[in-house]
Symmetry: C2
Subunit: 108 residues, 2 copies
DNA sequence: GACACGTGCAACCTTTTGGTTGCATACTGT
DNA sequence: ACAGTATGCAACCAAAAGGTTGCACGTGTC
């Protein structure tokens, strides 16, 4: 049952959890207050996120604070890289077109 | 059954499809040759990708060429933006730490 | 027109997903 | 030690995902 990071961020609730703990480490209980589900459901999401190493638990007394492993997010960025190249290339081409239009206009 | 772009890229086969048609528009048949599934399964993936507007079909004779809507990929980039800010900030802080260490060392 | 080809869609099936309830465990404070 | 709090885990369930097979519908080719 190995999930990759893309499956991890596929679920809206998990993305919301990520957004919340990006600001500050939070406990499952505190997180659950933000959603219309049970604490256990949130716990399951945290389990998945932890397995993907997107999130790290840290025990403090009887509470467990979960924090975001921001480095893991870079993997998505790395995957996007190849496509970013494409759209930047197309933007450059668009730029050339615009320059071409401008040139044409100035020649009028 | 409305899927968002994050669910669309969650499936490995769909990411592979995206990677293939990023290079050049392809037909479902041609795509299916690259996977160990039936043409119909690929067709279903293409349907999902089309619904998310990640992919656009173009009929040419009796073939349909699917091409990547690169602009849609920017949505992922936009989502990542908030986290990129975080890791860049932390990197800066790391930089300060390094500078601090260096300074300390030179004072020895 | 007849036929092959390329494709999408419906029906069906199995596995996975996301959720719930109930319970066991661990730490706190009195 | 005991009550209360914070949490994870197992069992169960409904819905969704991903796959397959069979079929219908256009479009080219002869």
């Amino acid at each position: 049952m190995k999930r990759d990071i893309f499956q991890a961020i596929a679920d809206p609730t998990r993305r919301a959890i990520i957004a919340l703990i990006a600001l500050q480490a939070m406990t499952p209980n505190a997180l659950a207050e933000n959603f219309h589900t049970t604490r256990q459901a949130v716990s399951k999401h945290l389990r998945i996120l932890t397995e993907c190493e997107l999130v790290t638990p840290e025990q403090r007394g009887r509470e467990i604070y979960y924090s975001l492993e921001i480095d893991k997010m870079k993997e998505i960025d790395k995957w996007l890289e190849q496509y970013r190249k494409i759209w930047e290339t197309r933007f450059d081409q668009l730029g050339e077109v615009l320059v071409g239009l401008k040139k044409k206009k100035s020649e009028e």
